[in-house]
């Protein structure tokens, strides 16, 4: 019984993190129609930023905030150089460009910061809380809380604010959105920066539990893609939901089937969903994106 609860807790804790990364990915996909394979690299940037700012004797919170700004700025530059020129080109080209960006960022950071893992420790990172034999580290609790807050904020921003309306309109039908006064290019810019900054926060949050090293983003990107597809691409509640589902599938398959086949099972689940409900598990209204 304890084991079952622990498995669920593990899954939910990881799920919250996946949701956060997927959130950025799904936003960017929605507005730019870009499958951003460099998404995880922004988590890496956020994590490195957190590490180096903390080396300058800043506190964890400060370092995270600064590093999310850094992630956003780098995202801005990359958007100008690698994605903006391709906005009218085929989506496949943008995706490929993002792959190039990923290679570039990973290897550049390896060149600049060496491949050695760096350790970020804050006051939460060591201890965990315990209830009925179930353990959860404090840092993970922090991740869950921050992730839920950010997911909620993003949801509110999109659904309730004027800016969010513009973003949704631009993602549904860019040309018509333009006709009604929405500067779609600028919206794409802002969304991209916002999306990668969110992922940057995720990087800063995970730094204390996962350590910081150049290749840390790659597996996060893959997870985020699974989450996004499960939840329906460009669908915010779907991404949040999908995050938890992937986290749970992972922990259950590790707990009851095989740890070695964990990834195989996750991707098989993805396959099943794609076959049965290609538009994602949460989507209600059918209707293709233009």
């Amino acid at each position: 019984m304890t084991e079952l609860i622990q498995i669920i807790v593990n899954g939910m804790a990881n799920g919250a993190l996946y949701a956060l990364i997927a959130l950025g990915l799904t936003l960017i996909y929605g507005v730019m129609n870009l499958s951003n394979f460099a998404q995880g690299e922004f988590a890496m940037i956020g994590a490195f930023g957190t590490y180096y700012f903390m080396q300058m004797h800043m506190n964890y919170l400060m370092a995270m905030i600064l590093s999310l700004i850094v992630a956003g700025l780098i995202g801005f530059v990359i958007h100008i150089l690698a994605f903006h020129p391709l906005r009218k080109s085929e989506p496949l080209n943008m995706m490929l460009s993002s792959l190039g960006v990923s290679v570039l960022l990973v290897n550049l950071s390896q060149y600049l910061f060496s491949p050695n893992p760096k350790v970020v420790s804050n006051s939460f990172s060591e201890d965990s809380i315990q209830a009925f034999g179930v353990f959860l580290s404090q840092q993970r609790i922090l991740i869950v809380i921050v992730s839920l807050i950010l997911c909620g904020f993003t949801y509110w921003l999109l659904e309730r604010s004027k800016f969010g309306r513009s973003v949704r309109a631009a993602s549904l039908d860019p040309d018509t959105a333009t006709l009604y006064g929405i500067p779609t290019n600028r919206i794409a810019f802002i969304t991209f920066v916002f999306g990668v900054a969110l992922t940057g926060i995720a990087g800063g949050l995970t730094a204390p539990i996962y350590n910081v090293y150049p290749t840390m983003g790659i597996s996060l990107t893959l997870k985020a893609f699974v989450v996004v597809v499960l939840g329906g691409m460009g669908n915010i509640p779907g991404a949040i939901m999908g995050g938890f589902i992937v986290g749970l599938i992972e922990s259950f398959s590790a707990g009851y089937v095989s740890t070695a086949f964990q990834d195989v099972i996750v991707f098989s689940a993805l396959f099943l969903v794609l076959i049965i409900k290609p538009e994602g598990i949460l989507s209600k209204v059918q209707g293709e994106k233009v």
Partner: protein, 337 residues
């Protein structure tokens, strides 16, 4: 007609020259580079059938590549079946896998298809890595028999290169014929607009499945060649990076053309080796070049230069022959599609 014949003659001469030249390459390193490049070229051609001719994305082609290689490895080492028979089985089996993958995924589009095929690649890699009893797990399979073709031992790099160039030429020919056949026309039709294709009476689903099957079996063929050449295979070769590098090759070179993937392979193979001079910055530069090429030449290198050449030659003719090629981006601006 004369143009076509010229094309064939050029190709034939090129192949003959390559085959002969391959026998006289003294440098074993260059030989290895060429052979591996030729295998990559076959892979690129197979992905091109999906990406270039039918407009489907595949981010999991290393899966087929791996299935082909492992079929040969497993059958040859464990059951001592001759290499050539293994190869036939591998090609058929990976074609079958293509068909099976195609059954659910051909209904998907764009990014969804991309992620689904990516998932296929991850699943295959996971199975290769973990199904210890059959695939040997991370250790891979060693001591695969080096093939012998009519008493020519292909373990010598020169002969293998000659053989593989011949295979490649044959494949180019087959694909060329395929593209010019009704199948190819159906593909290009459904690539442009599936609904129109459907209305025109093309069985879209079936043609997509066919593309998946053919593409899978060609990748499997490349895999069996790889197994025969390396005589050692392990799951590391058939990972996501491999899938990504194949599709990168195709798109950089120019998808939807035959010369594009070949040119892409040649350039990337060259780039990869040349960049070794830059030590630690190697992959940084590689990334920059990748992004730069896509940003500046999104249509691919081959079509770009071809258009350049054509525009130089056709300046005189322009008055009499209006350019009727339809821009692929035209639809993007249009609100009504």
């Amino acid at each position: 007609m004369t143009k076509t014949r010229l094309f064939y003659t050029a190709i034939t001469i090129l192949c003959i020259v390559c085959s002969i030249a391959s026998l006289y390459i003294q440098n074993l390193y260059l030989l290895r580079v060429f052979i591996l490049a030729a295998i990559t070229a076959i892979l690129a051609l197979s992905v091109n059938i999906l990406v270039g001719y039918t407009g489907q994305i595949s981010l999991g082609h290393a899966g087929f590549f791996g299935i082909g290689a492992y079929m040969v490895g497993i059958l040859n080492v464990n059951y001592h079946i001759s290499f050539w028979l293994c190869m036939v089985i591998a090609v058929l089996f990976s074609g079958l896998m293509g068909l099976i993958l195609g059954l659910p995924t051909t209904k998907l589009k764009g990014h969804f298809l991309g992620i689904a095929t990516l998932g296929f690649g991850v699943i295959v890699n996971g199975v290769l890595n973990n199904w210890m009893q059959v695939t040997g797990g991370p250790q891979g399979i060693r001591d695969i028999e080096s093939p012998t073709l009519f008493t020519i031992p292909l373990e010598y790099g020169n002969f293998f290169l000659g053989f593989i160039v011949a295979c490649l030429s044959l494949l180019v020919l087959v694909i060329y014929l395929l593209i010019k056949s009704p199948i190819g026309r159906a593909w290009s039709c459904l690539k442009q607009d599936e609904i129109t294709a459907y209305v025109t009476g093309i069985h879209v689903y079936r043609y997509k499945l066919l593309a998946f099957t053919i593409s899978g079996s060609i990748a499997g063929f490349a895999g069996s060649l790889f197994a025969g050449y390396m005589t050692f295979i392990s799951p590391d070769t058939f990972d996501l990076n491999q899938s990504i590098s194949i599709i990168t090759t195709v798109i950089l070179g120019g998808s939807g053309t035959i010369a594009g993937p070949l040119l892409g392979t040649a350039l990337l193979a060259f780039l990869n080796e040349w960049l070794r001079n830059f030590d630690e910055l190697r992959l940084v530069i590689y990334g920059i070049i990748l992004v730069a090429v896509i940003v500046f030449i999104p249509e691919g290198i081959y079509p770009f230069f071809k258009n350049k050449v054509i525009s130089i030659f056709s300046k005189r003719k322009k008055a009499s022959q209006p350019n009727t090629s339809i821009e692929p981006h035209a639809g993007k601006d249009a609100v009504n599609e």
